[in-house]
Amino acid sequence: MYKILKKEMLSDNIVLMDVLAPRVAGSCLPGQFVIVKCDEKGERIPLTICDYDREKGTITIVFQTIGASTKLFATYEEGDSFMDFVGPLGRASELCSLSDEELKKKKIIFMAGGVGTAPVYPQAKYLHERGVECDVIIGARNASLIILAEQMKKVANVYITTDDGTLGRHGNVNDCLKYLISEEGKTYDLAVAIGPLIMMKFAALLTKELNIPTVVSMNPIMVDGTGMCGACRIMVGGEVKFACVDGPEFDGHLVDFDGAMMRQRLYKTEEGRAVLREKEGSTHHGGCGNCGE
């Protein structure tokens, strides 16, 4: 059992939790993720590691309550325990394989969309601890969905942008990147974009134009998270990759986003869900992540 030591609501439907998991906390690195299963009959849900404390043995997770399982997670309180919490899964961010010297030479821009801010935080923090400065754009639809801004400001130069202009700049993360480059004269030699697929797709298109090498973090459907089922497969540069073991980070200029979106459309659109309800029959319990049945 993995005890929840802290719970905090970051917005109406975004939850932060510190969970006691010493083995995971002892070995994880930025970019990796965990799989959480709340009770015997629950699903295995992948969540990015947002922070970790090796001494206390805790892992911080942040999730949005979208489907049946994450809604159930959100009902857990401090002192309750998850039944299963496994990790760290996936490969660490490539930044972790560079020396401090190499890192200091890099000019890095992070583009974080919505809950994607959570996986960006440990990377920015990792850089900060090594004396490396970086810029972080946090974007969301509106002010209430901007999360972790205060923590992020302690470790990076933060630029906030909202689609409706209720906080920070008006516009999306791409608009903000263009602004930083054209108006503030910034140059970058690495971009890391993490957020919804559609946001990563367009971020990668822009950085391609701008000639900035770009890393994205993919989060397809997963079951085991250990390379055993192939549910998480995506096409990268014409090859099949398993996001759980080969990723979750990939070269954003090589990922087949349209293919990934087609697979995800199953879970995220009304028609997709209707098809799922039909195909899954009585086994459909809100697994589409939206209907909350």
């Binding site: 083995r23 995971v24 002892g26 070995s27 299963k37 009959k41 629950g42 699903e43 295995r44 049946a68 399982s69 039944m83 299963d84 919490f85 496994v86 990790g87 760290p88 899964l89 079951v223 085991d224 250990t226 390379g227 055993m228 089922c229 192939g230 549910a231 497969r233 096409m235 099949v240 073991v245 293919g259 087609m262 697979r263 459309r265 199953l266 028609e271 098809v275 799922l276 195909k279 899954e280 029959g281 009585s282 086994t283 459909h284 319990h285 809100g286 697994g287 589409c288």
Partner: protein, 466 residues
């Protein structure tokens, strides 16, 4: 009960095909005491029992069959459990027809003795009557880590615990059992009654099991040995990485690896309404492959309500699945498209599977494996309308451990290189066996490897103690 015709085996009771095609209960119901004792009388008690040489773990088969014949089932269980930690499982999933029963002298003229069914009966009786295997009497004081809780890991752990070692199994998934829980379906191998009970038996020998630990990620082998005080390690991590064909359309919605399909149903229990796991219940399903995995996926899809095809590129004689599974699959109404190979998965405008395009094959000259190589019949394209395709093309070992353990050698198939008799790897104190070494094989071969490695680890630790 008297056996009239000694050439014929006592038939085993099974669920009717039409009934079982709609449920997940076990197909084979097994012998009762009377039937088992009658079947046991068919054993010829050979002086030089060939059956025993056909068993990878060398069970004293005439020894236990004799006890069954006398009605002393506890005695029979004591004989078996000296050799095997998982008899209720082996009795159900071993390919007996190519092992013990293939060597049975009774089988030369008539049916071989139903050794598998007798083993199953004995183990089931022991479980129902609370008989446990014997544990160690004295402790050796050395610690062994076992990676993976499939048949090889469970066997190795059980053997070492019986010798008095302090053994901990580290398992990546949330439940112990490996393929026994995530791969093989309930209707062949009941999870709660059979698998869990045999795992409990292994635990009752003193083995500890830590789930949710991914070796190579949560902790490395070097850390286990250096920081956590393990004197030896056995790697039984299996071959879980599924293969795909690389044909167009494989990324479509509705294409699954058999592992995903089976994991959702078996480990995550999608077939039960009280679990949260969703699964595709296709209306028409094509399963590509001819092994046990393909049969299990097809029979699972059928039970979920689909019209189901097996698409296999060689002929019936080459089907690698257990004979009983092929027979059961046919009885249940699975449609076999043999000598038939997929070339493309067809999709509709929304990216959903709507068919599978195949070509017919014929058998040509034998290839390196000795099996006749299938070659394409020109102009024989045809399409099967399906909405779901399940790929059961085999699996390879996951590189997680080899890539994080320095000096641990693997071969071009990503299999760990280990000595055939001892499981010794290129690293001192590290042993390996089962599918992780051989690539996807069988439960009993994995158990054999676990058992041999346990003996080798005992030797190794003896010299370390001295």
């Amino acid at each position: 009960m008297i056996v009239e015709d000694k050439l014929k085996r006592v038939p085993v009771r099974e669920q009717e095909p039409a009934v079982r095609a709609k449920n997940f209960d076990e197909v084979c119901l097994g012998y009762n005491l009377e039937e088992a004792m009658a079947e046991a009388t068919r054993c010829l008690k050979c002086k030089n029992p060939q059956c025993q040489t056909g068993c990878p773990v060398g069970i004293d088969i005439p020894g236990f069959v004799k006890e069954v014949e006398a009605g002393n089932i506890k005695g029979a269980y004591d004989v078996i459990s000296r050799y095997s930690a998982l008899p209720a499982i082996c009795g159900r999933v071993c390919p007996q027809e190519t092992q013990c029963e293939a060597k049975c002298i009774r089988g030369i003229k008539g049916d071989a003795v139903s050794i598998g069914k007798l083993e199953r009966f004995t183990a089931d009786w022991a479980r129902e009557n609370g008989v446990k295997p014997q544990g160690a009497t004295e402790k050796k004081g050395q610690k062994v880590a076992v990676i993976g809780s499939g048949p090889s890991g469970l066997t190795c752990a059980g053997e070492l615990a019986k010798m008095g070692y302090d053994v901990t199994i580290f398992e990546a998934l949330h439940e112990a059992g490996g393929v026994l829980v995530y791969g093989i379906p309930e209707f062949r191998l009941p999870k709660d009654t059979v698998v869990k009970a045999e795992i409990e038996n292994v635990k009752s020998l003193g083995v500890k099991i830590e789930t949710n630990v991914i070796t190579g990620k949560s902790v490395t082998i070097d850390e286990l040995m250096k920081n956590e005080g393990y004197d030896a390690v056995f790697i039984g991590s299996g071959a879980g990485l599924p293969k795909f064909m690389g044909i167009p359309g494989e990324q479509a919605n509705g294409v699954f690896s058999a592992n995903e399909f089976l994991t959702r149903n078996n480990l995550m229990k999608a077939f039960r309404d009280d679990y949260d796991t969703p699964i595709f219940k296709g209306k028409k399903v094509a399963v590509v492959g001819g092994g046990n995995v393909a049969m299990d996926a097809a029979r699972t899809a059928l039970r979920l309500g689909a019209e189901t095809y097996i698409v296999y590129r060689r002929s019936e004689a080459e089907l690698p699945a257990r004979a009983e599974e092929v027979h059961h699959a046919k009885e249940e109404g699975i449609i076999f498209k043999l000598l038939c190979n997929p070339t493309e998965i067809l999709t509709d405008e929304n990216g959903w599977v709507c068919g599978i395009k195949c070509v017919e094959m014929e058998l040509g000259e034998p290839d390196a494996s000795g099996r006749r190589r299938p070659v394409v019949k020109a102009g024989s394209d045809f399409t099967i309308d399906v909405d779901t395709v399940i790929m059961a093309l085999g699996t390879s070992p996951n590189p997680l451990i080899t890539s994080t353990t320095e000096g641990l050698e693997s071969n071009s198939h990503k299999c760990i290189v280990a000595d055939e008799k001892t499981g010794q790897t290129s690293r001192e104190g590290v042993f390996a066996g089962g599918d992780a070494v051989t690539g996807a094989a069988t439960v009993i071969l994995a158990m054999q490897a676990g058992k041999q490695s346990a003996a080798a680890i005992d030797e190794y630790l003896k010299t370390k103690r001295a």
